[in-house]
C-alpha cells in the first residue's frame, strides 16, 4: 500500500519534481546566477506570451487534442495593426481594444470553419498561419515599426519602467531600494490563497468529501512559499513587472473557467466523448467555436505583450510561438486525445520550458542545441505521461 502511494505521488507530481530538479541543476551549473532577482524577472517577462497563449491552447487541446497553429501569425498581425495605429497617433487603449477585437474576429472566423463546416482544426489553422503571416507583412509593408508610446510600454511590460510603482514606500517615505509594494502584494496573495484552501477543506468536511487534508495543506504551503519567495526576489529587483499582472489575470480567469463554469465543463466533456456530450443536450459545435474564438482573442492579448516587450514589431515576430504554447500544455499533462488537462499543469509546463531556455542561455549553450534539448524535454515529458497512464490500467 505504501509503495503504491509513493508511486502515485510520483505520477501526480512528476513535472513538479522535474521543474525543481531542473531549476536546481541550472542554479548549480550557473553558480546561483540563474536565481538572481534580475534573472527571475526576465524569466517572467520573456515568457509572458507563453502563459497567455497556452491558456487558450489548453482549451483547444481539451476539446480533443486539437491545436491552433495560427496564433504565432495572429500575434504578429494584431501587433502590426496596433503598432501602425499607435504610430498614427491613435489612442493606445483604442489600439489595444482593436488588437483584442481583431484577434477575437480572426479566432471566430477560424472557429467557424472548424465548428460549422467541420474543417479539421489542424488544417483550418494551418491556413490561418500562412494567411496572417502574409497579412502582417502587408500591413507592415515589410518594415519594422516601433512604438514610442511610453504609457503603452509601461503598462504592458516593455521598456525600462514597466514595473508597478512602489507606492507604499513613497507613501511612507522610507529610504531604501527594497520594493515594499511587491513584497506586500506577494504576502497578501499567499494569505488569500491559504484562506481559500482552508475554506475549501471546511466545505469538504461539511459535505463528507474524503480528500487527504495534509496533502492539500502541503500543496498550499508549497505554493504560498513559492509566491512569497518570488515576491521577495522581485522586490529585490525593481518590483512587480506589469506583465506579471496580465499573466496572473489570465491564469486566474482561465483556471476559473476550466474548473467552475459550465462552458469549462463542456470543453472537458467534448474532449472526453463528443457524442455523449451532444446527446446530453450540449451544442458541441459551439464549444469548438468558443475555444477557437477565445484563443484568437488571447493571441491578440499576446500580441499586445509581445509588441510592448519588443517596443515594436517586425514581420517575423511570433514565428514558432504556437509551438511553445502547445509544448507547455503537453508537458503540463494535457492529453493529446483531449478531455484531460489543467491550467495548473500548463503553468508548470510553461515554467519548465522557460527555466530550461533561460538556463541554457545563461550557460551560453549554442542556440541550435537549445532546440534539441527542448525537443527531447517534450518527448520525455509526454512519454512519462503515457507510461504512468499505462501502469494504471
Amino acid at each position: 500500500m505504501k509503495a503504491s502511494k509513493v508511486s502515485s505521488f510520483f505520477q501526480k507530481y512528476t513535472m513538479v519534481l522535474a521543474l525543481v530538479l531542473v531549476t536546481a541543476f541550472f542554479a548549480w551549473q550557473s553558480g546561483g546566477k540563474s536565481l538572481l532577482p534580475a534573472n527571475i524577472n526576465s524569466l517572467i517577462s520573456q515568457n509572458g506570451y507563453v502563459f497567455v497563449l497556452a491558456s487558450g491552447m489548453l482549451l483547444c487541446i481539451l476539446t480533443g487534442g486539437n491545436i491552433d497553429l495560427s496564433v504565432g501569425s495572429v500575434i504578429c498581425f494584431t501587433a502590426a495593426v496596433g503598432c501602425v495605429m499607435m504610430q498614427a497617433g491613435i489612442n493606445m487603449w483604442l489600439a489595444v481594444a482593436a488588437m483584442l477585437l481583431i484577434g477575437l474576429a480572426v479566432g471566430a472566423f477560424q472557429g467557424f470553419w472548424i465548428a460549422k463546416l467541420h474543417v479539421p482544426p489542424f488544417i483550418a489553422t494551418l491556413s490561418g498561419m500562412y494567411a496572417f503571416r502574409g497579412f502582417s507583412n502587408i500591413v507592415l509593408q515589410g518594415y519594422q515599426v516601433s512604438i514610442n508610446n511610453e504609457a503603452f510600454l509601461n503598462i504592458f511590460g516593455g521598456g525600462a519602467n514597466c514595473y508597478v510603482p512602489d507606492f507604499i514606500r513613497s507613501m511612507t517615505g522610507a529610504e531604501g531600494k527594497f520594493n515594499l509594494t511587491c513584497m506586500v502584494v506577494g504576502v497578501v496573495a499567499a494569505l488569500i490563497f491559504a484562506a481559500l484552501t482552508v475554506r475549501r477543506i471546511m466545505v469538504q468536511k461539511r459535505l463528507g468529501i474524503h480528500q487527504s487534508i495534509p496533502a492539500q495543506l502541503a500543496t498550499t504551503g508549497i505554493i504560498c512559499a513559492v509566491v512569497v519567495w518570488l515576491a521577495w526576489k522581485l522586490a529585490n529587483f525593481k518590483g512587480i513587472p506589469t506583465v506579471l499582472i496580465w499573466i496572473a489575470l489570465v491564469l486566474l480567469v482561465y483556471n476559473y473557467v476550466t474548473t467552475k463554469t459550465a462552458i469549462g465543463r463542456h470543453l472537458y466533456a467534448v474532449g472526453g466523448n463528443e457524442k455523449a456530450t451532444a446527446l446530453s443536450g450540449v451544442n458541441t459545435r459551439n464549444v469548438f467555436w468558443f475555444a477557437y474564438a477565445n484563443i484568437g482573442m488571447l493571441a491578440g492579448l499576446a500580441g499586445v505583450l509581445v509588441a510592448a516587450r519588443a517596443k515594436g514589431i517586425d514581420p517575423t515576430y511570433g514565428e514558432g510561438y504556437e509551438m511553445d504554447a502547445i509544448a507547455a500544455c503537453f508537458i503540463g499533462g494535457a492529453s493529446a486525445y483531449g478531455g484531460i488537462g489543467k491550467v495548473s499543469g500548463m503553468i508548470i509546463g510553461a515554467t519548465l520550458m522557460g527555466v530550461i531556455n533561460q538556463g541554457m542561455r545563461i550557460m551560453s549553450v549554442d542556440a541550435n542545441y537549445q532546440k534539441v534539448v527542448k525537443g527531447i524535454v517534450l518527448l520525455v515529458a509526454v512519454m512519462f505521461d503515457v507510461l504512468s497512464k499505462k501502469q494504471k490500467r
Binding site: 503504491s4 459535505l207 468529501i209 459550465a262 465543463r265 472526453g272 466523448n273 455523449a276 446530453s280 450540449v282
Partner: protein, 514 residues
C-alpha cells in the same frame, strides 16, 4: 475419458491492489466446448488473457499445461504458434481493408517484402466457406454486417491453424438468428475435433452448446457443471453458481401499478437513413405511452428501435422526418435539437454507454450532472458543493458501488457504469424515459437492480419506454409490448397476453407479408 488438452493450475494474478485471479484451476478436454461463465469482473477475461499470453509468463503465478507441456508464453504470437487463438469481444477488424487483408494481417502470406496476394485471397476464400460465408475475400469489411464480421473473425482464427479456439462473448452484438447460426457452426467444428472455450453472458446459449460449464466468481473457479445429462442444465442452476445464491425471481414484482393518462403519443412517425435518404429506417410507426407505464419495444437487431427512439429524442438520428409527436395531448414542434427534447422532459438512455453515453475520462460527479448543469449552476457558474451532493444522492439511491463519486467512470464495472448513466438522466428529471437496452452486457445481480430502478421510475408516474432484444426481459418487465420489425410496428400486446411464441409469430408474419 478424453485427453486433457489444457490445464491451468493454481493461477494467481494480481494487479496493484486487487487479486484478479486467486488459485484458479481450469481443465479443458480435447474436442469439447467448454463454457466459462461468471459475473462481470469475476475474472473470466483475465484468465483467458493469461492463457493467450497477453499477460506474459512471470506476471502471474501457477502453470499452464497445454498438450502435456508447461508453457511459458511471452506474447500472443507464442500461444498462437501452438494453436491457441482468442477472438475478442470487440471486433478487431480494419473496416477499410478487405476480408482477406484482415484475415492475414500480421500473418501475411508470401515473403516479408512481397506479399503473395493470390495465395492470400485463395486461402481466405477457403476459410470463409468453412464458416459458411459466401462473400469474396476481396470485399471490404465495412460492407458486410456485424454478424458476418464475427464469422470473418472466426475464419481468421482458423487461418492461424487454431486447435483451441477461445471466443469472448461472440454473440453479444448479434441478433438471435445470427447467434444461433454461430453456435451451430461451433457445434460443427466440434465434430471435426476442434476444442473451444466460450465466454458468454447468455445462459441459454451455454446450455445449448457447452459440454461443460465452469463458473467463475470473485477470481476463483467455483464449480464445473457437466452438461451431458438428458436435460440441458437449467439457467437457474448456472445463475445459482454465479451469484452464490438462489435467484428465485429474475424480475422484481411490479407493485402498486397505477397507470394514468397518455402522456406521449407518436403518430405516423417516419424517419429516413442519414446516408441513404431514400431508405426508410422507421416506417409509419405510431406508439403511445401512459403515465406510470412500462412499455417494452421488442425487435431484432436492425428493427429500427434505436432509430425510433433517437429520432424522437430531438431528431438525433435520421433525416426527412414526418409524423407527429404529442406530449400531454398537445402537438410538439420539436427542432433538431437534443436540448429541446430535454426541455420537453424526454430522456434517452443510450444502448452504447461507452460510445454515446458517458465521458469515461471524467468522474461520476461530472457525468451525473452533465445533462442538467443548469440545475446546479447560477449564471453558468457551477456550484460544486451542490454538484457533489447531487452525485452523492444518486450514488446512494442507485447503490453505485464506488469508494467516492470522484472515481473516474472508466474505472467502473459495466453495471455500475449503467447506473451512472441512469443517474445522469434521472437527474435531468424527465417525464418520459426511453431506455435502450438498459441491461446489455451487465451481470445478473446488476440487472436485477436496474429492473428495480425501472419499477421505481414507473411508480413515480414516469413513462418508461424500454427497448430490449431479450425476450424474457421484455416479458418480465413491461405492462405493454410493441413489436418492431424492419422499421415497422408489427404488433402490440398487453403483457398478460404476450408470450415468447406469439411475439415471434408477429415478427415472422410481418416478414412473410413484406
Amino acid at each position: 475419458m478424453a485427453k486433457i488438452l489444457l490445464e491451468m493450475k493454481n493461477i494467481t494474478k494480481t494487479f496493484p491492489g486487487v487479486k484478479a485471479l486467486d488459485n484458479v484451476n481450469f481443465q479443458v478436454e480435447e474436442g469439447e466446448i467448454h463454457a466459462l461463465v461468471g459475473e462481470n469482473g469475476a475474472g473470466k477475461s483475465t484468465l483467458m488473457n493469461v492463457l493467450s499470453g497477453i499477460y506474459p509468463y512471470g506476471t502471474y503465478e501457477g502453470d499452464i499445461v497445454y498438450n502435456g507441456q508447461v508453457c511459458k508464453f511471452s506474447n500472443i504470437k507464442d500461444s498462437e504458434k501452438l494453436g491457441i487463438v482468442i477472438i475478442h469481444q470487440e471486433l478487431a477488424l480494419v473496416p477499410e481493408m478487405t476480408i482477406g487483408e484482415n484475415m492475414y494481417l500480421g500473418n501475411e502470406r508470401g515473403k516479408k517484402f512481397a506479399i503473395d496476394w493470390n495465395t492470400t485471397y485463395a486461402e481466405a476464400d477457403k476459410y470463409l466457406r468453412m464458416v459458411g460465408l459466401e462473400e469474396s475475400s476481396k470485399v471490404q469489411v465495412k460492407t458486410i454486417g456485424t454478424g458476418k464480421q464475427q464469422l470473418v473473425e472466426i475464419a481468421k482464427a482458423l487461418a492461424k491453424q487454431a486447435k483451441l479456439l477461445i471466443l469472448d462473448e461472440p454473440t453479444s452484438s448479434l441478433n438471435e438468428e445470427d447467434s444461433r447460426a454461430l453456435l451451430d457452426l461451433m457445434l460443427g467444428f466440434k465434430k471435426q475435433g476442434m476444442t473451444m472455450i466460450i465466454i458468454t453472458h447468455k445462459l441459454n446459449e451455454v446450455a445449448y452448446v457447452a459440454d461443460k460449464i465452469t463458473v467463475v466468481r470473485d477470481g476463483a473457479t467455483i464449480e464445473t457443471i457437466d452438461n451431458h445429462g438428458p436435460e440441458p442444465v437449467s439457467e437457474e442452476r448456472i445463475i445459482k453458481g454465479m451469484v452464490g445464491r438462489e435467484m428465485t425471481n429474475r424480475f422484481p414484482p411490479r407493485e402498486g401499478v397505477k397507470i394514468g393518462d397518455i402522456l406521449m403519443e407518436v403518430d405516423h412517425w417516419t424517419v429516413h437513413h442519414p446516408l441513404y435518404p431514400e431508405r426508410k429506417v422507421v416506417d409509419d410507426v405510431s406508439i403511445n405511452v401512459r403515465k406510470g407505464e412500462v412499455v417494452g419495444i421488442y425487435g431484432l437487431m436492425g428493427a429500427g428501435r434505436t432509430e425510433l427512439a433517437m429520432s424522437i429524442f430531438g431528431q438525433s438520428y435520421g433525416v426527412n422526418f414526418s409524423g407527429e409527436l404529442k406530449i400531454d395531448g398537445k402537438p410538439v414542434k420539436m427542432k433538431k435539437s437534443v436540448t429541446d427534447a430535454i426541455k420537453h422532459r424526454i430522456a434517452y438512455v443510450t444502448e452504447d454507454r461507452k460510445g454515446n453515453g458517458l465521458v469515461l475520462s471524467q468522474s461520476i460527479r461530472v457525468n451525473t450532472s452533465l445533462a442538467n448543469l443548469d440545475e446546479i449552476s447560477t449564471n453558468t457558474v457551477i456550484d460544486q458543493d451542490k454538484e457533489y451532493a447531487v452525485a452523492e444522492e444518486y450514488r446512494k439511491k442507485l447503490s453505485i458501488k464506488t469508494p467516492s463519486v470522484e472515481q473516474l467512470v472508466g474505472n467502473l464495472s459495466g453495471g455500475n457504469q449503467q447506473k451512472v448513466l441512469l443517474a445522469k438522466w434521472m437527474f435531468a428529471e424527465p417525464d418520459i424515459m426511453i431506455l435502450d437496452e438498459p441491461t446489455r452486457g451487465i451481470d445478473v445481480g446488476a440487472k436485477y437492480e436496474i429492473y428495480c430502478i425501472i419499477n421505481d421510475l414507473a411508480a413515480q408516474g414516469k413513462c418508461v419506454v424500454m427497448i430490449s432484444s431479450e425476450l424474457p426481459e421484455v416479458l418480465g418487465m413491461s405492462d405493454r409490448i410493441y413489436i418492431m420489425n424492419e422499421g415497422k410496428m408489427v404488433g402490440e400486446m398487453k403483457a398478460s397476453e404476450a408470450t415468447q411464441e406469439n411475439i415471434m409469430a408477429a415478427i415472422l408474419r410481418s416478414g412473410r407479408g413484406a
